[in-house]
């Protein structure tokens, strides 16, 4: 089954990959290991999981202003997400998205956290503002 989502481009480009979804905000600095893209925040539901090469679907960025620096490092270390889809814009995630260079989108017509499940195959065309979701089930 395929679902289509529309949203606003944050950073342009196209990419596809398996979804990693969390309903919890992500902390960059102190929350992610930039070497591996693994979430290290002890109290986080993704604790121990890596977003490397995944389409990361999450509410937004929280925590320290080191957010973008950590996400830039994941790009340099080859452990960045393939694309980022999120709901809440803020300055941390905007800087972060730009320096990650991967396509990123926000302001969707429906909530991606509801529609996308971890493991779904997601194709992101940020330039056109379209997300195509293929359910894994």
């Amino acid at each position: 089954m395929k679902t289509i989502l529309h949203g606003r481009m944050v950073v342009g480009g196209c990419a596809e990959g398996e979804a990693l979804v969390t309903s919890e905000m992500i902390s960059g600095w102190g929350g992610v290991d930039p070497a591996t893209g693994t979430v290290i925040e002890l109290r986080h539901e993704l604790h121990g999981q890596s977003f490397k090469d995944k389409v990361l679907v999450f509410p937004g960025a929280k925590g320290s202003s080191g957010w973008s620096g950590v996400f830039q490092s994941t790009r340099l270390n080859g452990s960045a997400p393939k694309a980022m889809l999120f709901n809440v814009m803020n300055s941390k995630i905007a800087v972060g998205a730009v320096v990650v260079h991967a396509p990123a989108m926000t302001d969707f017509d429906r909530d991606p956290l509801q529609l996308i499940k971890t493991g779904d195959w997601v194709r992101v065309d940020a330039d056109k503002g379209v997300v195509e979701i293929t359910s894994k089930d």
């Binding site: 950073v11 929280k62 340099l76 803020n90 800087v95």
Partner: protein
Amino acid sequence: MILTDDEKAMLDGKEGKTRQKAIEFLVKYGTALGAERLVNTNNVGGYMIADRASYRKFGSFDALFSLTGLDSEETLEFPKVKAFSCQFETDMDPEYCDIEGKDEEDYRRFKANEEWLSKIGVQLMCTCTPYLVGNVPVKGEHCAWMESSAVVYINSVLGARTNCEGNTSTTAAMLTGKIPYWGFHTDEHRLGSHLVNVELKVEGLMEWGLLGYYIGKMVGEKVPVLDGIKIVPSRDELKQFGAATASSGGVEMYHIPGITADAHTVEEAFGGRTPAFTLKYGPEERKYAYEQLNMIGKNTDVDFVMFGCPHNSIQQVQEICDLLEGKRIKGGSSLWVLVPRAIKDLAKRNGYDKVIESAGGVLMSDTCPALGHLMPKGTRVLATNSAKQAHYLPSMMGIESWYGTTEECVNAAVTGRWEGALK
């Protein structure tokens, strides 16, 4: 985005390639945000400190900071900054290389880094509390600051206007004197979203840290409005509170009507709108916050006690020294008291360095454990009066931690045992 003539000129390269790259980034960043324009800023605080691995890899500050500061793979030469600019924290205190596990190479790199920053006109404040060493923005002043604890402080308490910027956006802002006009630069974004009815009397650093930690957890990155605060909190209490909200959540602005800068009343704080949510903070919520902060602590044998996240004011140093005077910390334990470098100067003048050293502790500046990934060798269990440090250090460094009052922490340093409890 709509650009002014001077911005277009910079974008066209009229002021050189580096500033061109900087404003290019700001335009991309503004587009990502959905901002319509840039705004002038003359107060930028960021982070351009090279760590050992990166410096080895890139070989020069220009190369490294072209990448992390300008998102440019090409090495650009840095001209003098245009805006008043400050280096906030760093990753080491050059006076304590030994204790921090740094060597001669680190020291030389650090000194060279300072020189490089100084050459391009960046002030070496080297602290996360620049408002304690003279960078006190005026209400309505457009700033571009990193460091979440500082951002929430100046937005809320002082009424300055900044988002929580990153390495790249602050570097670009330093070089151009511009930042996207979006978010907390606009009136709309500064209005409250969540009402918090504070039903307890909140007094003391620990209590303000608990309140902040609870609120951050509940509101995420929204704008809480506190009602029911009866006693005017001190600067240091607000400092601990804000840092806690920015750690458990992403709070960049809050209101305590009548005390913080933007609103005199709860109604004003919400701009006449209805709160999206209403929370309360009573004995249960307080207990929950305390337990969250202390859930990583099992082992009561404390070997590291740390004060000064965010960096201590001289008043906090005095309070610690009043508790510490004439005592000795336990053999094998460490005690770090962190301050901005300029405050260390003040502290020395009053002999507080001696009090701390005679007790077996260290008065350290410029850095902190979380930022520098620094701890005394072999640390297993931390005690601190900082919710932020208690939140981050266990994840980052794999240690246990206890959160409590300054007095409980001093006692833990002296006895080597954690005996704190929620009273």
